[in-house]
Symmetry: C2
Subunit: 307 residues, 2 copies
């Protein structure tokens, strides 16, 4: 049997490619140009699996991946997640020890402002971080470095001049692996289940009623977001990510109770929580509550109003 | 008195610049390089106001604007919103009637794939859509067009060869105007209030309790999202956007009741709903529930599990 294919948001050397390698599946990895193309290929069966950025993407995609999956597919499922630290390295031709120019995708240049300023580098743009690396590898110049993901240099025969030159340490980006089935439950791993629910009414209280079906069964919420539905002004869908596997008795009972309230439910995925490097607990790539934040949550309801 | 300043995510000719012009305030508009810089300048008082993309940004920013405002400032307030249709035009030197090359930010190129393919154009990248327009204006070549926002061409003395060449019609992007005060209530306009709440416990039921304080007072929810707090694993903040002005009696009573539950509340903004061109009701740039979506919300809890 030939290897099953997994598309990722390319080109080769992208952060999504790095995420695909971290998953370490025995799949044939193939780059694709857009999230929409990947989602459609998994839906149609042209690809067995797909890997897509789900939050802010350093590969520069702007489409809402969540909306693409929920509203543009019928039976695509999220079966795994991967979290990748956002690290930009500077890649040069072997032997080069100093540069005067940096090239990258504009997002890469924007994320490495400090390094660029400290080294007084001139900047040039490329269509992707991988294209930047390729242009350095294929060009004659030795005074230029490409800002790209840690895996990109070796793919094109370049070496790192400096590592982790991004302005913000500690940022991560999350990817979901898509398929037509979920993985069977493995012992010893924590699971999450993503369901999207269209409530029977836009009465605000209905959301509380649905949440009570989770809380009364001891099911914790991992994330929640609302999305307006264009076709029906004023109507909302809710994305719930809850802790547990979709076949767990309590999870199933909660979802059945939510359906009994009159809601329409779609199970969008059920997958093991990422347990790889670079992640502290469940919290990913978000700012902390520092001293300023504590002040700002001061229960002050009298805000300044312009004269 | 000199004019008050409003920073926008530049360079001049960006979609954020277009949004600033649509607001039609009597402010001196100045471009800034990043959302973080704009938020910090408003916080410090170096700028009176700032305009920032709040959702997917076609100007290519990836930082989470919501997190920047909520967690990195103490008293910045959202005082207005603007919604701009995502339209890319093709700008050329006056007199040019055909082109063989297109230049833009990679996001712009990605959004105009169909036009590029139909016209068999070679593509070149620039650091921003405005930089693309500037390079066409300043270069000698007449076989090249820049893909950029509708306002960008005139700023650099170019003319449109074609209009609205983006692949997806109907997409919009939303911007928030930031300041240190909110606008006084104007008669005849609908308002929204954004509050971020850190609940006293991560018990799932607490969210239902908070929602009940809104629903029992007839206050509708416009959007809701959860954000994990890095400093406190397992703890969440909730962003609620509710209908109404922060000084409305019912809104204030609901927020006081939520504080009485033990929550910490920050009023992040209170602003008139955008009533300008390009918007149908409250629903912005999101996919509809088409035939496929209806099938997908089928209450089917038995998803395929891999053997």
């Amino acid at each position: 049997m030939s290897k099953r294919t997994c598309l990722y948001l390319g080109p080769a050397g992208s952060f999504c490619h790095q995420a695909a390698l971290l998953l370490n599946d025995d799949f044939e990895l193939q780059p694709a140009a857009t999230v929409a193309e990947i989602v459609a290929a998994v839906e149609s069966g042209n690809a067995d699996f797909g890997l897509v950025p789900i939050e802010n993407s350093v590969d520069g995609e702007v489409t809402s991946t969540v909306d693409s999956i929920v509203f543009n597919t019928v039976d695509v499922l999220v079966r795994d997640e991967v979290v990748v630290p956002v690290e930009f390295d500077v890649f040069v031709k072997p032997g080069v020890t100093s540069i005067t120019r940096a090239i990258s995708h504009p997002v890469g240049l924007a994320q490495c402002q400090r390094y660029i300023a400290e080294n007084s580098l001139q900047v040039e743009t490329a269509a992707s971080t991988s294209a930047a690396v390729a242009s350095v590898a294929q060009g004659e110049a030795t005074d230029i470095g490409a800002l790209a993901s840690p895996i990109a240099g070796a793919l094109y025969g370049l070496v790192p001049l400096a590592r982790a030159v991004q302005d913000n340490a500690g940022a991560h980006t999350k990817f979901y692996q898509l398929g037509k089935s979920i993985r069977a439950r493995q012992a010893g791993r924590e699971y999450r289940t993503w369901v999207t629910v269209i409530p029977p009414t836009n009465r605000t209280g209905i959301l509380g009623d649905m949440l009570a079906e989770f809380s009364s069964r001891g099911i914790s919420l991992s994330s929640l977001s609302s999305r307006p539905l264009r076709a029906d002004i004023g109507a909302y869908a809710f994305n719930f990510t809850i802790e547990g596997y979709v076949q767990d008795e309590q999870v199933r009972a909660a979802l059945e109770a939510i359906i009994a309230l009159g809601s329409r439910v779609r199970v969008v995925g059920s997958f093991p929580e990422w347990a790889g490097v670079g992640v502290v607990g469940a919290v990913i790539g978000l700012p902390g509550v520092g001293a300023g934040s504590k002040v700002s949550f001061s229960n002050q309801l009298d805000v300044a109003v312009e004269e």
